[in-house]
């Protein structure tokens, strides 16, 4: 939003001013200034009328309006400073203390959260989203840079700490990829060129390319996830990304995490997928509502990850051949064992 200069005030009609500065309407309503949105009048003329009639000051109204425009602009340009996130333990479902007492994360860290359904993965993500201060059923405390961050819960615009991505989310807007990204980039106060960068990054993640002109609603499941990941990585300013089960995504999962981590995000990913769980250098196991154990990935597990990725490639190749109408052959495991020196 441009600063509201005297020149703009003098030559703009109330109608176009209302369109350019959406917050003008609420200011007029609050102050009790009656107006007809289609009236061919400038704001200063309208205010002069009102000020004379009601014995009020037009200058005071304008000063307050300018202050609000500044506030909103500051919100847009804001970037979050956060380097460390800590989770301090609370209680399990029976009120017993959690076994893992503390988890420390910093920019560029990836933590996988595993555990059976109902073990408390979503509850943990909810605690982080809420920046809990011991005030949730689990009694956990979340620290941002060593301090509780309850005052940042309602931060909006560029100051939001947390972005979320989950299997249940989809695009509902009746618009093209380019239109939504344009709006998002604008609402974050960033350069328009980022729209094409984001589309390119999304296309790198999904095997099936789409263009900016593609309607959001006709994206496939994989393309949708790819676009959400790219948008969260590049357009969202939030330093913390919470991911809830995106396994059946049909995207290059390793590349997706790499993209998020390349933007120095702190990523927490709740998952049932062994490949996703092993992509993280550390994984937290949940049980009975509690943080039960924290595991560093071992060298052996890292080798297993490489094998899982190969299996994943085999699976993808079979999928492609099926879709192309080809006949399939049995997988030659003996050959694979020799090639990759499996036991």
């Amino acid at each position: 939003m441009q600063p509201l200069t005297d020149e703009i005030l003098a030559r703009t009609s109330l109608a176009s001013l209302l369109a350019d500065y959406p917050l003008l309407e609420s200011a007029l309503l609050e102050t009790g200034i009656e107006f007809d949105p289609a009236e061919e009048v400038t704001l200063p003329a309208k205010l002069a009328q009102w000020a004379a009639l009601r014995g009020q000051s037009a200058e005071a109204f304008l000063a307050q309006l300018r202050e609000r425009i500044d506030e909103l602009n500051n919100l847009l340009g804001a970037t979050v400073s956060l380097t460390r996130l800590a989770i301090l333990a609370g209680r399990d479902k029976s009120g017993q203390p959690e076994q893992v007492t503390q988890i420390a994360l910093q920019r560029g860290d990836l933590l996988a959260i595993v555990g059976p359904t109902g073990s408390g993965k979503s509850r943990l993500l909810a605690d982080i989203e809420w920046l809990a201060t011991g005030d949730t059923p689990s009694g956990r405390t979340i620290l941002a840079d060593g301090r509780t961050a309850a005052d940042r819960r309602f931060a909006s615009g560029g100051e939001q700490l947390i972005a979320q991505l989950s299997q249940t989310m989809s695009f509902v807007l009746d618009a093209t990829v380019e239109e939504l990204l344009g709006l998002h980039v604008e609402s974050r106060g960033m350069a328009a060129g980022l729209v094409q960068d984001t589309i390119a990054a999304a296309n790198d993640l999904s095997g099936e390319p789409f263009s900016g002109a593609t309607p959001l609603t006709s994206l496939s499941g994989g393309q949708t996830r790819a676009l959400m990941v790219a948008d969260t990585a590049l357009v969202c300013r939030s330093p913390i990304v919470l991911i809830d089960e995106i396994e059946n995504a049909g995207i290059d999962r390793r590349a997706a995490f790499n993209l998020l981590l390349s933007q120095e995000k702190i990523v927490l990913s709740a998952t049932h997928d062994p490949l996703l769980a092993l992509l993280a250098p550390r994984r937290l196991c949940m049980r009975h509502g509690a943080m039960h154990s924290l595991h560093e990935r071992t060298g052996e597990e890292e080798a297993l990850l490489a094998d899982l990725e190969r299996l994943d490639d085999i699976h993808a190749a079979i999928r492609t051949r099926l879709r192309l109408g080809e006949r399939l052959n049995a997988i030659d495991f003996a050959q694979l064992r020799r090639e990759h020196s499996w036991p």
Binding site: P22, L23, E25, S26, L29, E30, R68, E71, L72, L75, A126, E129, W130, D135, T136, R153, F154, S156, G157, Q160, A163, Q164, L165, S166, T168, M169, S170, F171, V172, L173, L180, L181, L183, H184, S187, R188, M228, D231, T232, V235, C236
Partner: protein
């Protein structure tokens, strides 16, 4: 007593959000009740009742829902006095977008959902623009991009409102809304001291009185004609 007005378009999730919020408040020992205003039908009183929330409902029927609402605030206060409620929430669904039930000096809440479209915040009048708290629902089914754009649009039209995301199904965020309800100002003075934040729409014409015939001959009272170029 704390009086809280909650308004929002139909199906935006007002009742679901309120039930989760009131459950949290009642768990803290706060005597809270709801009065639901609607136009034609409201089955939500049964939903509140089964959640153990004291509830009354008002259906405006043939009357203008906005005027019906404001002319019944005295009854609302009477009821909450009799029930010895510490907090009374007025949920109004039947209001038009031009209208707003918000009262000066009381916490004013507007509920909108992420799925309703990006133009919604602009189209909704004083019920949003004069609210203290804007609750945004259904965030669990749309993308982060859409959530952020929607929240930005809300903030642009209501720059001083606090935006809070609540999931009516899981109750995520309801705890926070309950804290805001607890911090709401108490009613000061008696009924005569209460003022609406925004005047109700003007209405006094033959159609208010049940006219069904169309055409200029039957239009008596306040009318305004469409400007056509």
């Amino acid at each position: 007593m704390q009086l809280i007005t909650v308004a929002g378009p139909p199906s935006s999730g007002k009742t679901s959000v309120l039930i989760k919020t009131l459950e949290a408040l009642m768990a803290d020992g706060i005597a809270a009740g709801v009065i639901k205003f609607d136009c034609l039908v409201a089955d939500d009183d049964a939903v509140y009742r089964s959640a153990g929330v004291p509830v009354q409902k008002g259906l405006s029927g043939v009357l203008c829902p906005d005027h019906y609402f404001v002319s019944n605030i005295d009854r609302v206060l009477e009821w909450s006095g009799r029930r010895q409620l510490a907090m009374t929430v007025i949920e109004s669904a039947g209001l038009c977008n031009r209208c707003s039930p918000h009262i000066k000096g009381s916490l004013a809440v507007c509920v909108l959902d992420n799925v309703s479209g990006l133009h919604t915040p602009k189209k909704i009048g004083p019920m949003l623009k004069l609210a203290d708290v804007v609750v945004v629902t259904k965030g669990d089914i749309v993308s982060q991009a859409e959530r952020e754009v929607f929240a930005f649009r809300v903030q642009s039209v209501a720059p001083r409102a606090r935006i809070i995301r609540v999931n009516g199904r899981s109750g995520q965020g309801a705890h926070a809304l309950a804290e805001m309800f607890k911090a709401a100002p108490a009613l000061q003075g008696d009924l005569a001291a209460l003022r609406l934040r925004f005047p109700m729409p003007a209405a006094l014409c033959s159609y208010c009185l049940g006219e069904t015939r169309v055409g200029p001959d039957y239009q008596i009272g306040q009318f305004r004609k469409l400007n056509i170029d």
